[in-house]
């Protein structure tokens, strides 16, 4: 079980800010494929992962990063702070 968080337009497109996901995905990319297979709104949100960023346990990571030991995955667009 892993917590998956969504922010900004990713949250809006998927329609929820957070969910618990039962998964055997070894990497972020595998998790994304599982989510895309679920429903059209996931497929739409993850259509172009180059427009997305991912954080694992609140640290920025790459889409080929391993999920081993990870408790929280967050997907969001590039940040626009400052």
């Amino acid at each position: 079980m892993i917590d998956v968080l969504y922010f900004a337009w990713v949250r809006e497109r998927i329609g929820l800010p957070k969910e618990r996901v039962e998964t055997d995905a070894a990497t972020v990319a595998e998790l994304v494929e599982e989510l895309k297979a679920r429903e059209a709104r996931y497929a739409a949100a993850f259509e172009d992962v180059s427009a997305l960023r991912v954080a694992l346990d609140q640290d920025l990571a790459d889409f080929d990063a391993s999920l081993r030991g990870v408790r929280e995955v967050a997907f969001f667009p590039p940040m626009t702070g400052g």
Partner: protein, 150 residues
Amino acid sequence: MEIRLQQAPFLPGALLDAFTARLGGAGAVVSFTGIVRDEAGTLGAMEIEHYPGMTERALEQIGREAMARWTLADLLIVHRHGRLAPGEPIMMVATASSHRAAAFESAEFLMDYLKSRAPFWKKEIGADGAAWVAAKDADEDALGRWSSEP
């Protein structure tokens, strides 16, 4: 080092005077304030979403990195989230050093990292609807200048 993440409005100058008052001998203080723009006069509000937990970590990391790279007497980061009105300050940074180059460079460094590495997302709410602010390539590119030691 002081880091504030808050919904409440703030007065940058009041924070700057408090920051300056508690400095010891530092001779140079630089501040940057970001303000909600409304050039077209059509913006109703700006909504700033953030990632509670990661935001605090990111601000701390960025602040500590600046303290490690430059000889600073002190630094301050303030960033708001929630709903902001046009003209309101969004965020500010202040840096203090004996040398003006260190104060300027570290403030620019903080800004470049806050823009592209702190988990905030801005949404502009106008009369015709709302739109997420797109990240600028120039902001991502600006990080490149800090990839080597100063």
